[in-house]
Symmetry: C2
Subunit: 216 residues, 2 copies
DNA sequence: CACGAACCGTACCGTACGGTACGTATATGG
DNA sequence: CCATATACGTACCGTACGGTACGGTTCGTG
């Protein structure tokens, strides 16, 4: 039940390999397939080592989340000058990346795992998942729309509110539907484009709106 | 396209009482607390009756979803004449109701349950939850925005797309956050108001936009 | 009242999981 | 070459769950 999060090389290579196998088991068979014996067998390690490294089953689950989060790296934007067109493109890319991440096997499996246990353990895993898994993508988006504001392309008083609006426009109820087992989105590109168009129509300044097609 | 659902009194009163207790157990202690023995004890019935009525544990879970869905009734709109103000008010009320439903104890517990099992049983429960639990609210919203269009207050080509936009604006990532155990929304009224304002700005005709405050 | 169906309470069975203990192998360091 | 630490594989234990069986009880019906 460790709480502190040391970013660099949180686990040994051997432990990472074990966590990788555990994630694979989880993705393939859901939480029920994720038994300590199963993980030990799949990773060719002993249960005793599992308990030594991760404490107990919950510790293993937390470690899986931390490990997966550490794998996702989002490149920071460079300080290039934003135009209406480039802002649009960047936001579209962000939208597509977001949808792709949320629709990923491992992401869905971990979210299902955390949600399934969230009203039993005081939502410890849920917190972890939100903090570790979401921070990167949130920061990227906030930096983007902040840059848009500084370039006089976006207008808003509350950046957090604007970001949540963007998020809702992009994701809608897709995430929950996928978590419930519905087959993935058909046309993510179109969905991303629609969302960004709506977002810019809501928060874009005249400089942006001037370059957008008229409604209808 | 959808499975036929025998609406009236799907279960006997006794069975409904049992399902009520089962839901209570689920809400209080999560899926782990929902054991067949526990349900039998809480509802003062025998396990044998449980298996006779619902087949097996999955049957019980499905019955719980069906029962809960049958309890939620959304009054149909009457054909009153819509104005810009009344459309706004109706959509705000819808938004608040939607947030309230999604934040409800039982709804969250059932969604967690279905999500937790969704990659094990072929998402049978997830399908059931989406079809039974969502249809009512979807129909209500579609009827509302359709009426708005017929009254010349809204403009869109694809009603489904417009509805999903509205849904995303209202819910954003709140549903998933709550499913992950985050404490509920502070100010649902404000959230609903913001969402509806944005929605009307995107899809409202001049008749609606004329009555809205200028941006900023 | 008698009969049968439905149902309750409990005891029971097989299984499978989380967690622990132990004997063995491999590697590292003096 | 030995000593120590680390980790593997397996066997084991207690527990708790899903599902079944059975005797006793209530209740509706002729």
């Amino acid at each position: 039940m460790s709480v502190d999060t040391a970013e660099p090389s949180e686990f040994s290579p051997r432990q990472n390999a074990v966590l990788e196998q555990a994630l694979r088991l989880l993705v393939d068979g859901g939480e029920k397939a994720l038994t300590t014996s199963g993980v030990a067998r799949a990773a060719n390690c002993s249960k005793e080592s599992l308990y030594k490294w991760f404490g107990d089953r919950d510790g293993l689950l937390s470690a899986m989340i931390a490990y997966q989060a550490s794998k996702v790296r989002t490149f920071e934007r460079n300080g290039e000058r934003l135009t209406a067109a480039s802002l649009h493109d960047h936001v579209v890319i962000f939208a597509r990346d977001l949808l792709e991440v949320l629709a990923g096997d491992v992401s869905l499996a971990l979210n299902r795992l955390a949600i399934g246990q969230s009203n039993r353990d005081g939502s410890k895993l849920g917190k972890l998942l939100l903090e570790r898994g979401r921070r990167q993508i949130d920061r990227r988006a906030m930096a983007l729309i902040d840059a848009g504001k500084r370039a006089g392309l976006l207008r808003f008083s509350d950046a957090d509110e604007a970001y949540h609006t963007l998020y809702g426009l992009i994701v809608s109820d897709l995430h929950v539907r996928m978590l419930l087992g519905e087959p993935g989105l058909k046309d993510t590109a179109r969905q991303a484009e629609r969302a960004v168009t709506a977002f810019l129509r809501l928060y874009g300044t005249d400089k942006v709106l001037a370059e957008m097609p008229v409604l209808g």
